[in-house]
Each structure stands twice: as structure tokens, then as C-alpha cells.
Symmetry: C2
């Protein structure tokens, strides 16, 4: 079993290997052609930024990063592009407790991973477990399904929340102070 350690919330630490990104870009180009989509700088930018995001970005976060490179991109374009990316199978969306849709890179080539979420402080860890995946396929097969993707989220208490009974988690404030900076 392999697991990836501790990557709390959004700021991406290490972008995906350029190789993988190219695989997805190729798939994106293919999708564009197949659907007669035009190539626009905004869309390409959004796709690029998205593919460089490590994990589960919200539209707001994504747009923020996109605007670092082109300040004139609007929300609508991001929403529209994410819809395309989902259709293209490059992105999947997730809902953790807060009312935000988060997106992350998807695809058969991706080393898939699941999430472990602390209900007290919102810390999100990632992990991967081949055996679980195998059992999932098993179950699906038994019911006649063919699995395309899946979503596994474990909710509980992180070590910190457990260790200090009644105490705080580091993230607790940062969640409350969530700067809702949309105009």
C-alpha cells in the first residue's frame, strides 16, 4: 500500500510531472477537435492552470490563480471550461462539507487517490490503497457494473484533534477567517 502524505487544502506543492500533463493536454486537444471547439487563450490558460493544480481547487481558487496570468478572465468562463473538462474526462468534481464544488484532475493514467478529512479542522490528507480499489472493482463486477471512477472519503478526527481532547486544531481559525473576497 502506498500513500501520499499530508497536503492540507489547496496551495499546490508539487505540480504533476510534465509528462502526465502532456498526456492530458493531448487528450484535451483531441477533445477540442472532436467537438469542434475553438482554441482561445482564456480556455488554454484555465486548462493549463488547472492541470498544474495539485488537488481539489474550487472555482474561486482556480480563477484567482488564472487571474495572476490574465486578470480579465471571468467566472463564467471558468465554470464553462470546467464543464468541458469534466465532459472530456480530465476533471472530476468533489464536495466536501463546505458548500463549494472542488475540481481535481482525473483520468485513467492518474495514480488515483482518496481523501481523509478531519471534521474538526478541515485538514485533508490523501491516500491510495490498491487493495481497496481491487475490492471495489470486485463489488462492481458482481453487480454487473463497469467502474469508470470513484470517490472515497473518510471523515474523522485528525491526530491533533484526537491528541488534545477539547483542544483546537491549527486550521480552525483559518477556516473561520475564510476571506470571502469575491466582489
Amino acid at each position: 500500500m502506498a500513500y501520499v502524505e499530508d497536503r492540507p487544502h489547496s496551495p499546490p506543492n508539487q505540480p504533476l510531472p510534465a509528462l502526465d500533463i502532456n498526456i492530458w493536454k493531448r487528450r484535451w486537444v483531441e477533445f477540442q477537435r472532436h467537438h469542434g471547439l475553438k482554441t482561445t487563450s482564456q480556455r488554454e490558460l484555465i486548462v493549463d492552470v488547472f492541470l498544474h493544480c495539485q488537488e481539489h481547487v474550487s472555482v474561486e481558487e482556480l480563477l484567482q490563480r488564472v487571474r495572476e496570468r490574465n486578470a480579465r478572465v471571468g467566472y463564467a468562463t471558468v465554470y464553462r471550461t470546467m464543464k468541458l473538462l469534466i465532459e472530456a474526462g480530465l476533471a472530476v468534481c468533489r464536495h466536501f462539507g463546505d458548500g463549494q464544488t472542488r475540481y481535481e484532475v482525473s483520468g485513467p493514467e492518474t495514480p488515483h487517490h482518496d481523501h481523509l478529512i478531519c471534521e474538526r479542522c478541515g485538514l485533508i490528507l490523501e491516500f491510495e490503497n490498491d487493495e481497496i480499489e481491487r475490492l471495489q472493482d470486485n463489488v462492481a463486477q458482481r453487480l454487473g457494473f463497469k467502474i469508470v471512477r470513484h470517490k472515497l472519503e473518510l471523515y474523522g478526527l485528525c491526530p491533533k484533534a484526537l491528541g488534545v481532547p477539547g483542544g483546537h486544531c491549527p486550521d480552525e481559525e483559518s477556516r473561520a477567517a475564510k476571506t470571502n473576497s469575491r466582489p
Copy 2:
């Protein structure tokens, strides 16, 4: 491994055994007392209707059923009550692809189950697999977490969608014709 068969979308087929409902009701009463909540006919009605729902009801569906018994109940009360039920650990919420929050009965006594969702027709199957659960606890333990609850959703193609390449799924229309009957 045990699995529960085929219960497409909402209309509940078989309510939970009265025994189980009583366990939850007892827990609810306990929660009420502990939180100094008053007993009101609306809330009790909502709780009762909810506990009798087989699976993943949306607020809209829930309210509709509640109104069969008391037409004057409002959305706000349902939302507020569902929040309490979640706090009380009697309900958990889920998001499948449509922009609706769905709720379902939860609790340690519940034989927990996960979902298998057809991306073509929206069919939702349920299943349960103890071994997967065990592996989940395992992973969590390794990362120092204590799991409270979890969410496993497998997305793919149902037998029908697989069997008839390019063909339709039964549910396809009913999803499109989704009567958005809110005033």
C-alpha cells in the same frame, strides 16, 4: 459480503424495520434533551418522515412528503431540522452529480452501505463490503486518524448501459423531465 439490491432513486420501497426506527428515535429524543430542544409537531413530523425514507432524499422530496401530512410546513424548517439531524448523527448528506444535497439515515447501528452510480442513467445501487471498511480503518489508523463516517461512491456504467452499446437507459428521460415544481 452482503449487498442490497437495486433501489433506483428516491421513492422509498420498504421503510426501515420499526425496530431500527425506534433506536433512532430514542437517539433523537436523547439529543433533544441534551440540547434543550423543544418538541414540536413539525420537527417530529420531519424526523418521522425522514426516518421512513429509504434512501438519499433531497430537501424538496422530503418536504413534499412532509406536506402530505401537514401542508403548512416550510422549507426553512426542513433545512433547520436536517441540520439538527446531522448534528445528532442521525443523518448524513451526499452529493451525486446533480446540484442537490441528499440526505440519508445514518448511525453506528445502521448496516452501512455505499453507492454504485450509473453515469449514463443515474441508477443508484447500494452495496456493503466489510472488507473495504476494514481496510479503510486500517489506512486511517496508519495516518493517525479516527474515522467517524465515510463515503464511497463508485461511478460507472450499469449493466443496461453496457449491454446496449449506444442505447438508452430507462431512467434517461425521467432525469431530463425533472419537474422543477418549486413555486
